[in-house]
């Protein structure tokens, strides 16, 4: 690079070499830090402050030959001797002729504390300081430096990550609004889970005399619950580490009431099922949470719960007079409610038929599973 001011022309080769007329300067670095320079045959040591600004210049004997001190925004507040380099505030090059610092992409005015041109990017729209595209280091010059004239690289990465996250969340919220999109997501995510664990579902259903279609319907629907999808990095992925970690934390913070795992089962229900012998007992809540979050062991809990509510319903005389499909739908309703006093009261007040017809969600769970199975 070549810079000409008036009659003086300086040639630069990277940050290592520069020549102005017959004066040749070479720079030496250690650990990315400029530590010394040679001007023709004279060696100088360059000592910097916490921002990397050139502060003290010493000769080869270690004696101070020059010193610079700066104000917060880069103006010189103290001078001693003649500093032999133009690399000064924050280690950037000063063009003394025009009184500006060159930060690779833009010129910076130390008296104004501003760049004289706008940053072409706003990589952190959430940071109000970043919206001022003339601002220098978020207006915090005592803490940050800016070697490029742009924000640091991690700010770009964070900005892109932030945009992706907002986009992902928007996509999933959109699936709740666009007709059919929610079911398509459940087909995609829940369907692949049901397909992958078909043998486990068959085995657990057979062991409990439960219709495997009900187990599959619950898993297809619940494993792709909106909150779980929202916490998945890539749209086609099964909810994994992020969703499980969040649900685990939610279960710890909210106690027994939080629904977790691909079966979206409450911890207290899981505990009750274990106590009643419907599923393999776990030693503590930690193991129980892990079992509920694990795709394979969650199948056991779903099948166990369906078996439990089926047993309860079968103990009601009128239930056995219902048609098979009505029985299946009632089992799914009872799965969602849990075998609670409130559920039993509703059932008594409304009767079987009214209860089934009102439960749009649970009917949808089965109907949508049957549609998916037929079409796949």
């Amino acid at each position: 690079m070549k810079a000409t001011f008036g009659s003086s022309t300086t040639v630069y080769i990277g940050n290592y070499y520069e020549q102005t007329g017959s004066t040749i300067r070479k720079y030496y670095y250690a650990g990315g830090q400029r530590v010394a320079m040679r001007e023709n045959s004279t060696v100088y040591y360059l000592l910097t402050d916490h921002l990397g600004s050139t502060a003290i210049t010493a000769n080869s004997s270690g004696n101070r030959v020059a010193e610079l001190r700066y104000k917060a925004w880069g103006e010189t507040r103290y001078t001693y001797g003649t500093t032999p380099t133009t690399y000064r505030f924050t280690g950037q090059r000063e063009d003394a002729t025009i009184g500006l610092y060159f930060y690779n992409a833009r010129y910076y005015h130390p008296a104004l504390g501003r760049f004289i041109s706008a940053d072409p990017m706003v990589p952190e729209p959430g940071n109000p300081q970043a919206l001022n595209r003339y601002a220098y280091v978020y207006n915090n010059p005592l803490r940050y430096t800016d070697s490029t004239g742009h924000l640091p690289w991690w700010a770009y990465v964070a900005g892109v990550a932030g945009l992706y996250i907002v986009g992902r969340a928007g996509y999933e919220v959109g699936t709740l609004i666009v007709p059919g999109a929610d079911q398509a997501r459940r087909d995609q995510i829940g369907g692949s889970l049901v397909t992958e664990f078909a043998d486990v579902i068959e085995r657990e259903s057979a062991a409990r005399s439960v219709d495997p279609r009900l187990v599959s319907a619950v898993l297809r629907h619940e494993s792709a619950a909106f909150e779980r999808r929202l916490l998945t990095l890539w749209p086609t992925m099964q909810p994994g580490l992020i969703a499980n970690t969040a649900e685990f934390a939610q279960s710890v913070l909210q106690g027994d009431a939080a629904s977790i795992g691909p079966g979206q089962m409450q911890l207290r229900r899981a505990r009750e099922l274990e106590e009643m012998g419907y599923v393999t007992p776990r030693r503590n809540d930690f193991e129980r949470r892990l079992a509920l979050l694990n795709n394979q062991t969650a199948v056991e809990y779903v099948a166990g719960m369906l078996q439990y509510v089926s047993d309860q319903l079968r103990s009601i005389q009128g239930y056995n007079d219902l048609e098979f499909e009505q029985q299946q739908r009632l089992i799914l309703i009872a799965y969602n409610w849990g075998w609670t006093e409130e559920f039993q009261k509703h059932l008594r007040d409304r009767g079987f038929i009214e209860m089934i017809e009102r439960a749009g969600y649970d009917n949808q769970t089965l109907d949508e599973y049957l549609r998916w199975r037929e079409n796949r």
Partner: protein, 208 residues
């Protein structure tokens, strides 16, 4: 940078949790054996309008925007024409949240013999999405006439004595009558099941 990304991830989690929990929490309320008016002053017959007005009055103290969603009568089928038994009423109040709607439900049971009322309020939105279509009783013959028609058909079917459950809700377009073995309640062994057209009183789908 790791700190920055971790902070973003935490913000994301917070946003999601906030969206999921942005509807106000509603704790269940249960009130039992409240005194209930079931007939007009100086009248002996049970008046559905009076029962409804009393229930609505109580429900709207907690859920001011609640509307009727379900009407049911259960009891001995011989008492059906007089509506002496339990009148079950369902009220819904639906509030739209950011991500999903919140459905608050009031279930009212009025014992028309003892003239008492039980109420239960609960939030049904988190685990159970239900039909919340309103029930418009004015789109039907008077409940008493429907009850008489139902009883006459039960006699025709030879199902007396029995327990009966007469129901109608916003999700159905007909009254539903279910008879069960006497003393077995609404979920007992079935004796009959049929529907009644609300406007014409026509009986259909008779099944014994």
């Amino acid at each position: 940078m790791n700190i920055k990304l971790s902070a973003i991830a935490l913000c994301w989690l917070w946003l999601v949790c906030s969206l999921a929990a942005c509807t106000a929490r509603f704790e269940p309320i249960e009130l039992t054996a409240l005194p209930a008016s079931v007939s007009q002053p100086d009248a002996r017959e049970i008046d559905v309008e009076v029962v409804l007005a009393g229930a609505e009055n109580q429900v709207r103290k907690v859920l001011p925007d609640a509307y009727l969603e379900f009407f049911g009568f259960s009891g001995d089928c011989r008492e059906l024409p007089h509506l002496r038994g339990t009148i079950n009423l369902g009220f819904d109040q639906v509030q739209q949240g950011i991500v999903r709607q919140q459905v608050l439900v009031a279930s009212v049971s009025v014992n028309t013999v003892e003239e008492t009322m039980d109420l239960r309020f609960a939030d049904h939105s988190s685990y159970y999405i239900i039909s919340t279509a309103p029930l418009l009783l004015q789109n039907s013959l008077p409940v008493r006439e429907i009850a008489v028609l139902a009883y006459e058909n039960i006699i025709r079917l030879g199902a007396v004595p029995c327990d009966v459950n007469l129901t109608w809700s916003g999700v159905r377009d007909t009254w539903l009558v279910e008879c069960t073995a006497p003393g077995s309640g609404s979920l007992g062994p079935r004796r009959c099941e049929f529907e009644i057209e609300p406007l014409t009183g026509q009986v259909r789908g008779t099944q014994q």
